[in-house]
Structures are given as structure tokens and as C-alpha cells.
């Protein structure tokens, strides 16, 4: 379930765009015989989007027609499209024809254009028509009323021929008459944020179907346009009937399991907070080393390269190396931290679902936060993401870097991030004279009578080793308290 706008869904057949994310946003695709406006500034990707839909449809046997109203060079347009992987020249012109209606508009106005479109759609039995550069038709209309009649007549052709139509036009600030008449309106927008530019797609109108409201990020690559529905709108409610998962799973570290009560609650989310270098990644790797064939693991990493992670595994967490080699555990390294928030979220959930991952270690939650163009989204994004992971039965551990190196105060870089985790483990340093000590403590655990005492730990030859009792931590902290009062405890017996 999603926060899809609930409306009566038409029983009319749909046509898929072939762009997975867009079909999700549209609730299954465009209505066959419908008319849609694709609006955006030059360069936003209107031609790529509509061409991609055309090539997807012709690949499954639909006949398509791409009509340009501007004095555009078709061979130039096609040579640009040829760079994209969906472009299939073998389908041109029998299944996808490119026509220019520039002269019809110039010489005979809207009536000549309408006659041309009707005759071509009927003669070719076209199931999909793109009219590129609607503004040209609009400027040739003597009045707004004349243009509305043109759109209305075109709509009748769409319905009577069962031809789905896409009209591309440049973005306008005011609502134009044709927007009120068509079955759907899609806006493509690019915005600059500092040095970054983000492109997003918004469906502002869709007749006969619920759709995911709001802005959704998209990227244009050699594969064409890829749309990433906003995670928090897509997963605002669990996608499956939530079945509570009971029991616990091992953290991969015996003493940590003892401190937690009986390990980590199954299908819960755990925040591992601590300063740089304290051992968060090592704990995460030990957590993954407890993966099993029926409990595959995934490391979703932002900062450390797979080579560096592998070196760490080979030097300390030996059992994980075998599991990596056998494919029981995978490392997914994000090569670009400049990707958008939803790109990361989509990639993560896709791998989790495809591989049936049950143990997930996200190394570097702050990288997700950095990817958010609008930081106010982060809380809702994580909430939806962790809800979905929980729903999929995934036990998640994520590391979060704290800026405070010393002390036990939790100063977290992401607002409300503690509310996103059911379990919180805090790692911190304390300095005793010239030596740094590592401390670990449990702040909260879902439905568990956990041990609230602090323990010391070291990173040894086999990873993180936590002391069996809190004696050392207590002595250390008492010593520090004494130092702060100018008191030096007696040594020896």
C-alpha cells in the first residue's frame, strides 16, 4: 500500500510506458486511448521520455507515430536518440514512423493538422501518437477557443481509434485550456541546489486512476529516463500484510548478544552510533558473518571500497570471506555519493527483494542524508525505508557517525534519527591519561530487558571483543571521575 491518491480506477485497459518507476507512479500505466500532456523546459527530457514509451510499445507490436510540429531535423533527432539503448532502428518506419507536420500547420492551420493526424492514425492503425512541440499548434490558433476545439477533436480521434496520445510542450506558469481537457498532465522539472541539479517528474493530473502524488526524481542515462518514485510515498504503508516477526538473531558477537538480552530482535532496525574509527564497520562485518544460506546478508556501503572491506575481512572476520566467496553475503558499494536519495533507496530495496536478504548492514547512514536535496525529507524517507525492510523480515544494522569523539553524549547528525531505530548501540572513546579506551553501551532494545551497563571493548585479531563484565568500564569511569576531582586512585594491592 502507498499514499496513492485513492480514486475510482477505470476499467479501461492500460498501456505501460516501459519505464518501471513511471508505471508505478501511474498505478499501472496510461489509459489506452487517453491523451496526456508532457510538459517541461527545453532539455528536460520530453523527447527522450516519449521516444522511450514509443520504442517500448513498438517492441510489443504497437504501431506508433511521432509527429513534430517544429521545423526539426528528424535525422538529427534520430542520431541523438541512437545513443540511447532503447533505440531500435529496425522498427523504423514500419512500426514507428517520424513525420513532420510543420507545413500543414504553416499552410493550413489546425484544420489541416487535424486532418493529417486523423488520416495518418487511421491509415497506419496507430496505437500511440506523439505530437512534439504543441506550442506550434497553439500559436497557429486564432483564438483560445479554436485551440480548445482542436484539442477536443483530437481527443475524439484518440478515443475512436483507441490511440493513446502524448502532447509535448514547454512549461507554463499558468494553467492553459488544454491542461483542463486532457486525461493526464506530467511535468518535468530541473532545479539547482548549490552545485547540484535535481530533475523531478510530477503527475499533476491523471483521470481514471490513483497515482503517486508529489515529485519523483529521475535520471537520464544511456538507458534513457529512469524514474525513482519517492520512497516515503511508495512505502507509506507496508507492501505486504505485516506479519510480526518474533524471536531474535545473533549480532555475531556473543558478549553483545548478552548485553542486548538475547541478541537483536528479528526484523528490527539497529543504530550503531559512534565516532570515526571506533569499530562500527567491524561490528557490522561480524553481524554479516552470522549470515546463513536461509539468511543471506548484504553490506550496503558508501565509503569503504570493496577492496578495503575485503582486506579487513581477510585480516579479522575470516568466516565472512567464505560467505562472500559463496555469494551468501554480498557487498554493494555505492560508487557515487552524489546519487539521489531515492536512487539509493530503490537500489537497496531492489537487491534486498531480489536476493531475499535477511541481514543488512548499511555502512554510513549519513551518506543517505547527504544525498537528500531536501534534508527535511530524510526522517520520513528513513521511516518508510525501515518500515519496508521490517516488513520484508530484514534485520538491519546501520552505522551512524557521531561528531563527538569523546564522552557518552549522543549528538546525532540526523534529526530524529534515534526514533528510526528500535535498538540503539552507542560506541564511544574515553581517554585515560594518554590512552584511549573504547566503550560500548546499549541505549534501547525493542521488547528486551537489556543490560544497561557500559563495557570496554577492543578490536583484536578476530574483530570486536567485548569484556565479559562491566568491572573494567566501571573502574575506568571511576578513575576518570577521580581525575576530574584531582584524586588519583591508589595502585597495586
Amino acid at each position: 500500500m502507498t499514499d496513492r491518491e485513492e480514486t475510482t480506477t477505470s476499467s479501461l485497459p492500460r498501456i505501460e510506458s516501459g519505464i518501471a518507476g513511471l508505471d508505478v507512479v501511474l498505478g499501472g500505466g496510461f489509459m489506452q486511448g487517453g491523451m496526456y500532456i508532457i510538459e517541461g523546459l527545453p532539455g528536460a527530457g520530453k523527447t527522450i521520455l516519449t521516444s522511450q514509451i514509443c520504442f517500448h510499445q513498438v517492441a510489443i507490436g504497437t504501431k506508433a507515430l511521432f509527429v513534430t510540429l517544429l521545423a526539426e531535423n528528424h535525422s538529427r533527432m534520430m542520431s541523438n536518440l541512437a545513443e540511447l539503448s532503447f533505440f531500435d532502428p529496425s522498427r523504423i518506419p514500419d512500426y514507428l514512423a517520424y513525420l513532420s507536420a510543420f507545413n500543414e500547420v504553416k499552410e493550413g492551420g489546425l484544420k489541416a493538422l487535424l486532418d493529417l493526424l486523423r488520416r495518418e492514425v487511421m491509415r497506419r492503425r496507430t496505437g500511440l501518437l506523439v505530437i512534439d512541440g504543441l506550442v506550434s499548434a497553439q500559436t497557429s490558433a486564432a483564438t483560445d477557443q479554436q485551440f480548445k476545439e482542436f484539442i477536443h477533436d483530437l481527443q475524439e480521434i484518440a478515443i475512436a481509434t483507441n490511440c493513446t496520445m502524448f502532447l509535448t510542450t514547454t512549461a507554463r506558469e499558468r494553467v492553459s485550456p488544454e491542461q483542463t481537457m486532457v486525461d493526464g498532465l506530467i511535468q518535468l522539472t530541473s532545479r539547482s541546489y548549490g552545485w547540484q541539479t535535481a530533475s523531478d517528474l510530477q503527475v499533476t493530473k491523471l483521470r481514471g486512476s490513483g497515482f503517486l502524488r508529489g515529485r519523483h526524481s529521475y535520471k537520464i542515462t544511456e538507458a534513457g529516463l529512469t524514474l525513482y518514485p519517492r520512497i516515503e510515498s511508495l512505502y507509506s504503508r507496508p507492501t505486504q500484510n505485516e506479519r510480526p516477526e518474533f524471536g531474535s538473531v545473533t549480532s555475531g558477537i556473543d558478549q553483545l548478544d548478552v548485553m542486548l538480552g538475547k541478541g537483536l530482535p528479528r526484523a528490527s532496525t539497529t543504530m550503531l552510533a559512534g565516532p570515526s574509527g571506533i569499530g562500527k564497520t567491524t561490528i557490522g562485518l561480524q553481524f554479516l558473518a552470522a549470515s546463513a544460506p536461509d539468511e543471506p546478508g548484504l553490506m550496503f556501503s558508501f565509503y569503504e571500497t570493496p577492496t578495503r572491506v575485503r582486506a579487513k575481512i581477510d585480516s579479522m572476520v575470516l568466516s565472512l570471506g567464505d560467505k562472500l566467496d559463496s555469494g551468501q553475503v554480498n557487498i554493494q558499494w555505492q560508487t557515487s555519493t552524489s546519487d539521489l536519495l531515492d536512487v539509493h533507496g530503490d537500489r537497496l530495496l531492489e537487491i534486498v527483494k531480489r536476493r531475499g536478504v535477511k541481514r543488512l548492514f548499511i555502512d554510513g547512514l549519513t551518506a543517505f542524508h547527504s544525498a537528500a536535496i531536501d534534508p527535511s525529507r530524510t526522517g520520513n524517507f528513513f521511516s518508510a525505508l525501515t518500515n519496508e525492510l521490517r516488513n520484508l523480515g530484514v534485520t538491519t544494522l546501520y552505522s551512524l557517525e557521531m561528531s563527538d569523539v569523546f564522552g557518552a553524549r549522543m549528538h546525532l547528525p540526523i534529526e530524529d534519527s534515534s526514533s528510526l531505530a528500535e535498538n540503539i548501540i552507542l560506541l564511544n572513546y574515553v581517554a585515560q591519561r594518554s590512552r584511549l579506551h573504547r566503550l560500548i553501551s546499549i541505549i534501547k532494545v525493542r521488547d528486551s530487558n537489556f543490560d544497561p551497563t557500559q563495557r570496554t571493548f577492543v578490536i583484536g585479531d578476530f574483530g570486536v571483543e567485548i569484556s565479559e563484565s562491566n568491572n573494567e568500564a566501571e573502574a575506568l569511569l571511576a578513575d576518570l571521575a577521580g581525575q576530574s576531582r584531582g584524586y588519583v586512585p591508589p595502585r597495586g594491592g
Binding site: 486523423r118 487511421m122 492503425r125 477536443h152 477533436d153 475524439e156 480521434i157 478515443i159 475512436a160
Partner: protein, 120 residues
């Protein structure tokens, strides 16, 4: 080719049928209600009548009834079009040749008109 009378208050449908059937080589006259249609009929007998059901001034049921009272219109096929189902339309009018439910396929419509015009 034939003289086709199209009667519909939905201008878009009227224009579409007019353009398409003109392209097919027919002579087409159009009316937006039953009264206008009867005026056209008084000027010349059409070979086929395509009429909507629900229209202002004079609806399709009244038009078909009026046509039925004109002996010179005997044998002229009448296509009744409506967004209503045929069973609902039949409550209002029975004496038509063929029913076409809106929205229709223009390809099927062209074939239907051709068939009806061929039928003696």
C-alpha cells in the same frame, strides 16, 4: 457514394464522423438535434441516418419516431448511438436498424456503415 445524415449534439463526434465518412467518399450532412435533422430530410432523402439518442430540442427517440411516419424514409437504415447500454436505449426507442455503443471504434463504425449501405 451515399448521402449520410449524422445527428449528434457532441460536436467532436459529429466532426469526426463527418471527416472520416467524407474521406470515405460519402456526401455528409450534419445536424445537432432531431429538428435540424428533419429539416435536412425534407430537403432530400439520405441513404443512411446515424443519430445520437440524448440531444436537446428533439432527441433521437423522437427523431426516429418522426422518420417512421415518413413513407419516403422507409428502408433507410438508422444507426442509433448512445453512451447508454442497448437495453437502456431500447426502453426509449425500438425502431432502429443497429445500435452502436459510445465510445465506439471508428474502424468498426466505417465497416458498419459500408455494410448497411450495401444491404438492399
Amino acid at each position: 457514394m451515399a448521402l449520410v445524415l449524422i445527428v449528434d449534439d457532441e460536436i467532436g463526434i459529429l466532426r469526426l464522423l463527418e471527416d472520416v465518412l467524407t474521406d470515405e467518399g460519402h456526401t455528409v450532412v450534419v445536424a445537432v438535434n432531431g429538428r435540424q435533422a428533419l429539416e435536412h430530410i425534407s430537403n432530400g432523402r439520405p441513404d443512411i441516418v446515424l443519430t445520437d439518442l440524448m440531444m436537446p430540442v428533439m432527441d433521437g427517440a423522437a427523431l426516429i419516431e418522426a422518420i417512421g411516419q415518413q413513407p419516403e424514409m422507409a428502408g433507410v437504415p438508422i444507426v442509433l448511438m448512445s453512451s447508454l447500454s442497448e437495453s437502456m436505449a431500447r426502453d426509449k426507442v425500438q425502431s432502429y436498424t443497429t445500435f452502436v455503443r459510445k465510445p465506439f471504434s471508428i474502424f468498426a463504425y466505417i465497416d458498419l456503415v459500408a455494410t448497411l449501405l450495401r444491404t438492399p
